[in-house]
Amino acid sequence: MICIVDYGVGNIQAFLNLFKRLDIDCRRADTPRNLEDAKRIILPGVGHFDHAMQRLNDSGMRSRLEELVLHCQVPILGICVGMQMLAKGSEEGTLPGLNWVPGHVRSFAGQHQFGSLPLPHMGWNELRTHSNSKLFSKGFESAPQFYFLHSYFFIAEHRQDVAATARYGLDFDAAVSRGHIHGVQCHPEKSHHWGEQLLKNFVAH
Protein backbone atom coordinates (compact mmCIF):
# COMPACT_ATOMS: atom_id res chain seq x y z
CA MET A 1 0.00 0.00 0.00
CA ILE A 2 1.25 3.47 -0.98
CA CYS A 3 0.28 6.01 1.67
CA ILE A 4 -0.01 9.69 0.81
CA VAL A 5 0.41 11.64 4.03
CA ASP A 6 -2.48 14.07 4.42
CA TYR A 7 -1.56 16.56 7.13
CA GLY A 8 -3.58 19.37 5.59
CA VAL A 9 -0.83 20.65 3.28
CA GLY A 10 -0.40 19.79 -0.37
CA ASN A 11 -2.09 18.26 -3.28
CA ILE A 12 -3.13 14.80 -2.05
CA GLN A 13 -5.78 14.39 -4.71
CA ALA A 14 -3.31 14.74 -7.59
CA PHE A 15 -1.38 11.69 -6.28
CA LEU A 16 -4.50 9.63 -5.70
CA ASN A 17 -5.63 10.38 -9.26
CA LEU A 18 -2.27 9.49 -10.73
CA PHE A 19 -1.77 6.19 -8.86
CA LYS A 20 -5.33 5.18 -9.65
CA ARG A 21 -4.63 5.68 -13.32
CA LEU A 22 -1.41 3.65 -13.01
CA ASP A 23 -3.48 0.95 -11.30
CA ILE A 24 -1.33 1.11 -8.15
CA ASP A 25 -3.06 0.76 -4.76
CA CYS A 26 -2.79 3.90 -2.73
CA ARG A 27 -4.53 5.61 0.14
CA ARG A 28 -4.82 8.97 1.81
CA ALA A 29 -3.36 8.65 5.32
CA ASP A 30 -4.55 11.22 7.83
CA THR A 31 -4.14 9.20 11.05
CA PRO A 32 -1.29 7.02 12.39
CA ARG A 33 -3.58 3.99 11.94
CA ASN A 34 -3.91 4.73 8.23
CA LEU A 35 -0.15 4.44 7.90
CA GLU A 36 -0.02 0.92 9.41
CA ASP A 37 0.55 -1.18 6.29
CA ALA A 38 2.52 1.44 4.34
CA LYS A 39 5.04 -0.05 1.93
CA ARG A 40 5.83 3.33 0.43
CA ILE A 41 5.12 6.80 1.81
CA ILE A 42 4.63 10.03 -0.10
CA LEU A 43 5.01 13.29 1.80
CA PRO A 44 3.60 16.16 -0.27
CA GLY A 45 3.81 19.81 0.74
CA VAL A 46 3.24 23.32 -0.54
CA GLY A 47 3.36 26.83 0.87
CA HIS A 48 5.34 28.06 3.85
CA PHE A 49 7.94 25.80 5.50
CA ASP A 50 6.94 26.54 9.12
CA HIS A 51 3.27 26.13 8.31
CA ALA A 52 3.94 22.71 6.80
CA MET A 53 6.18 21.61 9.71
CA GLN A 54 3.64 22.84 12.25
CA ARG A 55 0.81 20.98 10.53
CA LEU A 56 2.86 17.78 10.42
CA ASN A 57 3.82 18.14 14.09
CA ASP A 58 0.15 18.70 14.97
CA SER A 59 -1.15 15.86 12.78
CA GLY A 60 -0.45 13.12 15.30
CA MET A 61 1.38 11.18 12.56
CA ARG A 62 4.94 12.41 13.07
CA SER A 63 6.13 9.81 15.56
CA ARG A 64 4.54 6.99 13.58
CA LEU A 65 6.23 8.30 10.43
CA GLU A 66 9.58 8.41 12.21
CA GLU A 67 9.12 4.85 13.36
CA LEU A 68 8.20 3.65 9.87
CA VAL A 69 10.93 5.55 8.03
CA LEU A 70 13.80 5.42 10.51
CA HIS A 71 13.24 2.02 12.13
CA CYS A 72 11.23 -0.02 9.65
CA GLN A 73 13.10 1.51 6.66
CA VAL A 74 9.90 2.16 4.70
CA PRO A 75 10.86 4.18 1.60
CA ILE A 76 9.57 7.76 1.61
CA LEU A 77 9.41 10.43 -1.08
CA GLY A 78 9.06 14.07 -0.04
CA ILE A 79 7.75 16.40 -2.71
CA CYS A 80 8.31 20.17 -3.02
CA VAL A 81 8.02 21.51 0.55
CA GLY A 82 7.78 17.83 1.54
CA MET A 83 11.37 17.47 0.27
CA GLN A 84 12.46 20.64 2.06
CA MET A 85 11.07 19.22 5.33
CA LEU A 86 13.65 16.41 5.10
CA ALA A 87 16.38 19.02 5.77
CA LYS A 88 17.62 20.35 9.11
CA GLY A 89 15.83 23.63 8.60
CA SER A 90 14.91 26.36 6.16
CA GLU A 91 15.69 30.04 5.70
CA GLU A 92 11.97 30.46 5.18
CA GLY A 93 11.17 29.72 8.80
CA THR A 94 12.45 28.96 12.28
CA LEU A 95 11.06 25.49 13.02
CA PRO A 96 13.48 22.57 12.76
CA GLY A 97 13.00 20.19 9.85
CA LEU A 98 12.93 16.38 10.08
CA ASN A 99 16.69 16.18 9.49
CA TRP A 100 16.44 12.88 7.64
CA VAL A 101 18.68 14.09 4.79
CA PRO A 102 21.38 16.42 6.14
CA GLY A 103 21.03 19.72 4.35
CA HIS A 104 19.55 23.19 4.43
CA VAL A 105 16.87 25.04 2.53
CA ARG A 106 17.94 28.40 1.14
CA SER A 107 16.16 31.28 -0.54
CA PHE A 108 17.02 32.00 -4.20
CA ALA A 109 16.58 35.72 -3.52
CA GLY A 110 19.18 35.63 -0.74
CA GLN A 111 21.99 34.22 -2.90
CA HIS A 112 24.31 36.86 -4.36
CA GLN A 113 25.06 34.74 -7.45
CA PHE A 114 21.34 34.36 -8.22
CA GLY A 115 20.88 37.75 -9.88
CA SER A 116 17.41 39.09 -10.54
CA LEU A 117 15.46 36.32 -12.24
CA PRO A 118 11.71 36.25 -11.58
CA LEU A 119 10.53 34.39 -8.49
CA PRO A 120 9.00 31.92 -7.86
CA HIS A 121 10.96 29.56 -10.12
CA MET A 122 7.95 28.40 -12.07
CA GLY A 123 7.70 26.19 -15.13
CA TRP A 124 9.48 23.33 -16.86
CA ASN A 125 13.15 22.83 -16.24
CA GLU A 126 15.66 20.13 -17.06
CA LEU A 127 16.93 17.70 -14.43
CA ARG A 128 20.52 16.54 -14.52
CA THR A 129 20.45 13.18 -12.84
CA HIS A 130 23.67 12.59 -10.96
CA SER A 131 23.61 9.32 -9.15
CA ASN A 132 22.26 5.84 -9.47
CA SER A 133 19.32 6.80 -7.28
CA LYS A 134 16.36 4.46 -7.45
CA LEU A 135 14.23 7.40 -8.58
CA PHE A 136 16.03 7.55 -11.92
CA SER A 137 16.93 3.87 -12.26
CA LYS A 138 14.77 3.33 -15.33
CA GLY A 139 13.49 5.43 -18.22
CA PHE A 140 15.73 8.48 -17.80
CA GLU A 141 18.11 8.02 -20.71
CA SER A 142 17.40 11.45 -22.22
CA ALA A 143 17.27 14.79 -20.39
CA PRO A 144 14.04 14.83 -18.40
CA GLN A 145 11.82 17.89 -18.00
CA PHE A 146 9.93 18.49 -14.77
CA TYR A 147 7.51 21.12 -13.50
CA PHE A 148 8.78 23.36 -10.70
CA LEU A 149 7.01 25.92 -8.52
CA HIS A 150 9.10 27.22 -5.60
CA SER A 151 11.21 30.08 -4.20
CA TYR A 152 13.44 28.09 -1.82
CA PHE A 153 15.80 25.26 -2.67
CA PHE A 154 17.54 22.32 -1.00
CA ILE A 155 21.31 22.09 -0.64
CA ALA A 156 22.46 18.70 0.65
CA GLU A 157 25.40 18.53 3.03
CA HIS A 158 26.75 15.35 1.47
CA ARG A 159 27.11 15.36 -2.30
CA GLN A 160 26.55 11.60 -2.41
CA ASP A 161 22.95 12.26 -1.31
CA VAL A 162 22.28 14.36 -4.43
CA ALA A 163 20.25 12.47 -7.02
CA ALA A 164 19.69 15.31 -9.47
CA THR A 165 20.39 19.00 -9.88
CA ALA A 166 18.69 21.73 -11.88
CA ARG A 167 19.73 25.25 -12.78
CA TYR A 168 17.86 28.49 -12.19
CA GLY A 169 20.34 31.30 -11.83
CA LEU A 170 22.39 28.82 -9.81
CA ASP A 171 22.65 25.04 -9.48
CA PHE A 172 20.46 23.53 -6.79
CA ASP A 173 19.69 20.02 -5.58
CA ALA A 174 16.45 19.11 -7.31
CA ALA A 175 16.37 15.52 -6.02
CA VAL A 176 18.03 13.78 -3.08
CA SER A 177 18.28 10.11 -2.19
CA ARG A 178 19.80 8.94 1.07
CA GLY A 179 19.22 5.21 1.19
CA HIS A 180 15.46 4.72 1.18
CA ILE A 181 14.74 8.42 1.90
CA HIS A 182 14.08 10.48 -1.21
CA GLY A 183 12.98 14.00 -1.99
CA VAL A 184 12.22 15.94 -5.18
CA GLN A 185 11.72 19.67 -5.47
CA CYS A 186 9.74 19.39 -8.69
CA HIS A 187 6.20 18.01 -9.04
CA PRO A 188 6.21 14.49 -10.54
CA GLU A 189 2.42 14.36 -10.15
CA LYS A 190 2.19 17.18 -12.71
CA SER A 191 5.11 16.31 -14.97
CA HIS A 192 3.46 14.01 -17.51
CA HIS A 193 5.38 10.87 -18.52
CA TRP A 194 8.59 11.95 -16.76
CA GLY A 195 6.77 12.28 -13.46
CA GLU A 196 4.97 8.98 -13.93
CA GLN A 197 8.25 7.24 -14.57
CA LEU A 198 9.82 8.71 -11.44
CA LEU A 199 6.88 7.61 -9.30
CA LYS A 200 6.89 4.14 -10.89
CA ASN A 201 10.60 3.84 -10.09
CA PHE A 202 9.93 4.90 -6.50
CA VAL A 203 7.22 2.30 -5.95
CA ALA A 204 8.99 -0.53 -7.80
CA HIS A 205 10.56 -3.25 -5.67
Partner: protein
Protein backbone atom coordinates in the same frame (compact mmCIF):
# COMPACT_ATOMS: atom_id res chain seq x y z
CA UNK B 1 17.40 25.86 -18.05
CA UNK B 2 13.89 27.05 -17.44
CA UNK B 3 11.97 27.20 -20.69
CA UNK B 4 9.00 29.34 -21.67
CA UNK B 5 5.54 27.83 -21.17
CA UNK B 6 2.92 27.31 -23.85
CA UNK B 7 -0.43 27.45 -22.10
CA UNK B 8 -3.87 26.61 -23.49
CA UNK B 9 -6.50 28.84 -21.90
CA UNK B 10 -10.02 27.42 -21.74
CA UNK B 11 -13.02 29.63 -21.07
CA UNK B 12 -15.96 28.22 -19.15
CA UNK B 13 -19.48 29.50 -19.39
CA UNK B 14 -22.31 27.72 -17.63
CA UNK B 15 -20.32 24.52 -17.47
CA UNK B 16 -19.45 24.45 -21.17
CA UNK B 17 -16.37 25.61 -23.03
CA UNK B 18 -16.64 28.75 -25.11
CA UNK B 19 -14.32 30.98 -27.09
CA UNK B 20 -14.77 34.71 -27.52
CA UNK B 21 -13.55 37.49 -29.82
CA UNK B 22 -12.77 40.80 -28.16
CA UNK B 23 -14.47 39.28 -25.08
CA UNK B 24 -17.76 39.00 -27.05
CA UNK B 25 -19.44 36.68 -29.55
CA UNK B 26 -18.84 33.62 -27.44
CA UNK B 27 -18.97 30.40 -29.43
CA UNK B 28 -19.59 27.02 -27.81
CA UNK B 29 -16.61 24.77 -28.42
CA UNK B 30 -17.33 21.67 -26.35
CA UNK B 31 -17.04 19.83 -23.08
CA UNK B 32 -14.30 20.96 -20.68
CA UNK B 33 -13.46 17.51 -19.30
CA UNK B 34 -12.98 16.15 -22.78
CA UNK B 35 -10.70 19.08 -23.62
CA UNK B 36 -8.59 18.44 -20.51
CA UNK B 37 -8.19 14.78 -21.55
CA UNK B 38 -6.91 15.81 -24.95
CA UNK B 39 -4.41 18.28 -23.47
CA UNK B 40 -3.23 15.52 -21.11
CA UNK B 41 -2.47 13.30 -24.10
CA UNK B 42 -0.63 16.16 -25.77
CA UNK B 43 1.38 16.84 -22.58
CA UNK B 44 0.56 20.54 -22.45
CA UNK B 45 2.88 22.64 -20.25
CA UNK B 46 -0.01 23.78 -18.07
CA UNK B 47 -3.65 24.65 -18.40
CA UNK B 48 -5.56 27.78 -17.48
CA UNK B 49 -9.32 27.51 -17.00
CA UNK B 50 -11.27 30.72 -16.56
CA UNK B 51 -14.99 30.82 -15.79
CA UNK B 52 -16.07 33.99 -17.58
CA UNK B 53 -19.64 33.86 -16.30
CA UNK B 54 -18.97 33.68 -12.58
CA UNK B 55 -18.02 37.26 -11.67
CA UNK B 56 -20.44 38.88 -14.07
CA UNK B 57 -23.35 36.83 -12.70
CA UNK B 58 -22.09 37.23 -9.11
CA UNK B 59 -21.75 33.48 -8.77
CA UNK B 60 -19.35 31.57 -6.55
CA UNK B 61 -16.90 29.22 -8.31
CA UNK B 62 -18.49 25.99 -9.54
CA UNK B 63 -16.65 23.72 -7.08
CA UNK B 64 -18.14 20.51 -8.47
CA UNK B 65 -16.85 21.23 -11.92
CA UNK B 66 -13.45 22.39 -10.61
CA UNK B 67 -13.07 19.12 -8.67
CA UNK B 68 -13.83 17.13 -11.84
CA UNK B 69 -11.36 19.18 -13.89
CA UNK B 70 -8.66 18.80 -11.23
CA UNK B 71 -9.20 15.04 -10.99
CA UNK B 72 -8.76 14.71 -14.74
CA UNK B 73 -5.91 17.19 -15.21
CA UNK B 74 -2.40 15.71 -15.35
CA UNK B 75 -0.63 19.01 -15.87
CA UNK B 76 -0.40 22.09 -13.65
CA UNK B 77 -3.80 23.76 -13.53
CA UNK B 78 -4.73 27.36 -12.89
CA UNK B 79 -8.39 28.15 -12.17
CA UNK B 80 -9.97 31.60 -12.19
CA UNK B 81 -13.50 32.98 -12.04
CA UNK B 82 -15.72 34.13 -9.18
CA UNK B 83 -13.10 33.74 -6.44
CA UNK B 84 -13.59 36.46 -3.82
CA UNK B 85 -12.13 34.98 -0.62
CA UNK B 86 -8.95 33.21 0.50
CA UNK B 87 -11.14 30.36 1.86
CA UNK B 88 -12.50 29.67 -1.62
CA UNK B 89 -8.94 29.66 -2.97
CA UNK B 90 -7.83 27.17 -0.30
CA UNK B 91 -10.79 24.92 -1.13
CA UNK B 92 -9.81 24.97 -4.81
CA UNK B 93 -6.15 24.16 -4.10
CA UNK B 94 -7.26 21.28 -1.86
CA UNK B 95 -9.04 19.79 -4.86
CA UNK B 96 -5.72 19.45 -6.65
CA UNK B 97 -5.44 22.78 -8.46
CA UNK B 98 -1.96 24.40 -8.39
CA UNK B 99 -2.86 28.04 -8.86
CA UNK B 100 -5.90 30.23 -8.29
CA UNK B 101 -6.43 33.35 -10.37
CA UNK B 102 -8.24 36.48 -9.31
CA UNK B 103 -9.02 39.65 -11.19
CA UNK B 104 -12.16 41.68 -10.36
CA UNK B 105 -12.00 40.79 -6.65
CA UNK B 106 -8.35 41.85 -6.45
CA UNK B 107 -9.10 45.13 -8.20
CA UNK B 108 -11.89 45.75 -5.68
CA UNK B 109 -9.67 44.81 -2.74
CA UNK B 110 -5.93 44.31 -3.11
CA UNK B 111 -5.81 42.76 0.38
CA UNK B 112 -7.38 39.60 -1.04
CA UNK B 113 -4.10 38.85 -2.85
CA UNK B 114 -2.17 39.15 0.42
CA UNK B 115 -4.66 36.93 2.25
CA UNK B 116 -4.41 34.30 -0.48
CA UNK B 117 -0.61 34.46 -0.40
CA UNK B 118 -0.64 33.98 3.37
CA UNK B 119 -3.02 31.03 3.13
CA UNK B 120 -1.49 29.31 0.08
CA UNK B 121 1.97 30.71 -0.44
CA UNK B 122 2.46 33.24 -3.22
CA UNK B 123 3.38 30.53 -5.72
CA UNK B 124 -0.31 29.61 -5.96
CA UNK B 125 -1.66 33.15 -6.39
CA UNK B 126 -2.23 34.44 -9.91
CA UNK B 127 -3.58 37.87 -10.83
CA UNK B 128 -5.17 38.39 -14.24
CA UNK B 129 -5.37 41.86 -15.77
CA UNK B 130 -7.72 42.44 -18.69
CA UNK B 131 -6.42 45.40 -20.66
CA UNK B 132 -8.06 47.35 -23.42
CA UNK B 133 -6.01 49.61 -25.63
CA UNK B 134 -7.44 53.13 -25.57
CA UNK B 135 -8.54 54.28 -28.98
CA UNK B 136 -7.52 57.68 -30.25
CA UNK B 137 -4.97 58.27 -27.54
CA UNK B 138 -1.27 57.52 -27.39
CA UNK B 139 -0.32 54.00 -28.37
CA UNK B 140 0.92 53.19 -24.88
CA UNK B 141 -2.30 53.92 -23.12
CA UNK B 142 -4.24 51.00 -21.74
CA UNK B 143 -7.35 50.73 -19.63
CA UNK B 144 -7.81 48.13 -16.89
CA UNK B 145 -11.17 46.39 -16.94
CA UNK B 146 -13.09 43.56 -15.33
CA UNK B 147 -16.44 41.78 -15.61
CA UNK B 148 -15.63 40.62 -19.16
CA UNK B 149 -14.53 44.07 -20.18
CA UNK B 150 -17.80 45.68 -19.10
CA UNK B 151 -16.37 47.61 -16.14
CA UNK B 152 -13.39 49.86 -16.50
CA UNK B 153 -11.21 51.10 -13.65
CA UNK B 154 -9.48 54.42 -13.36
CA UNK B 155 -6.10 53.08 -12.28
CA UNK B 156 -2.83 52.89 -14.11
CA UNK B 157 -2.52 49.20 -15.10
CA UNK B 158 1.29 49.22 -14.84
CA UNK B 159 1.26 50.70 -11.37
CA UNK B 160 -1.52 48.35 -10.34
CA UNK B 161 0.42 45.32 -11.61
CA UNK B 162 3.37 46.41 -9.46
CA UNK B 163 1.02 46.69 -6.48
CA UNK B 164 -0.27 43.16 -7.15
CA UNK B 165 3.28 41.84 -7.20
CA UNK B 166 4.07 43.62 -3.92
CA UNK B 167 0.82 42.39 -2.36
CA UNK B 168 1.79 38.75 -2.96
CA UNK B 169 0.85 37.68 -6.50
CA UNK B 170 3.19 34.90 -7.64
CA UNK B 171 2.27 35.23 -11.30
CA UNK B 172 0.61 37.93 -13.37
CA UNK B 173 -1.38 37.22 -16.53
CA UNK B 174 -1.79 40.08 -18.98
CA UNK B 175 -4.78 39.64 -21.25
CA UNK B 176 -5.29 41.92 -24.27
CA UNK B 177 -9.01 42.35 -24.81
CA UNK B 178 -8.73 43.99 -28.22
CA UNK B 179 -6.61 41.09 -29.50
CA UNK B 180 -8.71 38.30 -27.96
CA UNK B 181 -9.79 35.79 -30.60
CA UNK B 182 -8.45 37.72 -33.60
CA UNK B 183 -5.35 35.54 -33.96
CA UNK B 184 -3.18 38.37 -35.32
CA UNK B 185 -0.32 38.09 -32.82
CA UNK B 186 0.40 39.26 -29.27
CA UNK B 187 0.77 42.90 -28.27
CA UNK B 188 4.56 42.70 -28.03
CA UNK B 189 5.08 46.30 -26.89
CA UNK B 190 2.71 45.76 -24.01
CA UNK B 191 4.45 42.50 -23.10
CA UNK B 192 7.89 44.16 -23.15
CA UNK B 193 6.71 46.94 -20.88
CA UNK B 194 5.36 44.52 -18.26
CA UNK B 195 8.45 42.35 -18.51
CA UNK B 196 10.65 45.37 -17.74
CA UNK B 197 8.47 46.39 -14.83
CA UNK B 198 7.78 43.14 -12.96
CA UNK B 199 9.85 40.39 -11.38
CA UNK B 200 7.34 37.56 -11.01
CA UNK B 201 6.56 34.98 -13.70
CA UNK B 202 4.38 36.50 -16.42
CA UNK B 203 1.93 35.03 -18.88
CA UNK B 204 0.60 36.87 -21.91
CA UNK B 205 -2.67 36.15 -23.58
CA UNK B 206 -4.67 37.56 -26.45
CA UNK B 207 -3.81 37.39 -30.11
CA UNK B 208 -1.92 34.15 -30.72
CA UNK B 209 -2.95 32.77 -34.10
CA UNK B 210 0.02 30.55 -34.84
CA UNK B 211 3.01 28.94 -33.18
CA UNK B 212 5.06 31.63 -34.92
CA UNK B 213 3.28 34.27 -32.82
CA UNK B 214 4.24 32.38 -29.67
CA UNK B 215 7.85 32.23 -30.86
CA UNK B 216 7.77 36.00 -31.47
CA UNK B 217 6.57 36.57 -27.92
CA UNK B 218 9.39 34.45 -26.47
CA UNK B 219 12.08 36.02 -28.65
CA UNK B 220 11.00 39.52 -27.67
CA UNK B 221 10.46 39.05 -23.91
CA UNK B 222 12.22 35.79 -23.00
CA UNK B 223 11.09 33.15 -20.53
CA UNK B 224 7.39 33.86 -20.02
CA UNK B 225 4.15 32.01 -20.59
CA UNK B 226 2.42 32.33 -23.95
CA UNK B 227 -1.25 31.55 -23.48
CA UNK B 228 -3.75 31.02 -26.24
CA UNK B 229 -7.38 30.07 -26.65
CA UNK B 230 -8.43 30.14 -30.31
CA UNK B 231 -5.11 28.75 -31.54
CA UNK B 232 -5.58 25.54 -29.55
CA UNK B 233 -9.31 25.01 -30.08
CA UNK B 234 -9.88 26.05 -33.68
CA UNK B 235 -8.49 24.80 -36.98
CA UNK B 236 -8.59 26.65 -40.28
CA UNK B 237 -10.25 29.85 -41.40
CA UNK B 238 -13.76 28.54 -40.77
CA UNK B 239 -12.88 28.10 -37.10
CA UNK B 240 -13.79 24.43 -36.98
CA UNK B 241 -13.43 23.14 -33.43
CA UNK B 242 -10.38 20.90 -33.23
CA UNK B 243 -8.28 20.77 -30.09
CA UNK B 244 -4.60 20.88 -30.93
CA UNK B 245 -1.24 21.60 -29.29
CA UNK B 246 2.39 21.50 -30.46
CA UNK B 247 4.27 18.21 -30.09
CA UNK B 248 7.18 18.12 -27.60
CA UNK B 249 9.56 18.40 -30.57
CA UNK B 250 7.75 21.44 -32.02
CA UNK B 251 7.74 22.99 -28.57
CA UNK B 252 11.49 22.56 -28.16
CA UNK B 253 12.10 24.08 -31.60
CA UNK B 254 9.97 27.13 -30.75
CA UNK B 255 11.84 27.66 -27.48
CA UNK B 256 15.29 27.04 -28.95
CA UNK B 257 14.79 29.33 -31.93
CA UNK B 258 13.33 32.09 -29.78
CA UNK B 259 15.94 31.98 -27.03
CA UNK B 260 18.90 30.76 -29.11
CA UNK B 261 20.05 27.98 -26.78
Amino acid sequence: MLRPRIVPCLLLHQGGLVKTRGFRDSKYVGDPINAVRIFNEKEADELMVLDIGATENREAPNFNLIAKLAAECRMPLCYGGGVTTAEQAVRIVDMGVEKVAVSAAAIARLGLVTEMATALGRQSVVAVLDLQKRIGLSARSYELSSHNGKLTHKVDPFLFAKNLQDAGAGEIVINSIDRDGFMQGYDLDLAAEFKRLLNVPLTFMGGAGSLKHIGELFSSVGVVGGAAGSLFVFKGKYRAVLINYPTPEQKMIICREALKF
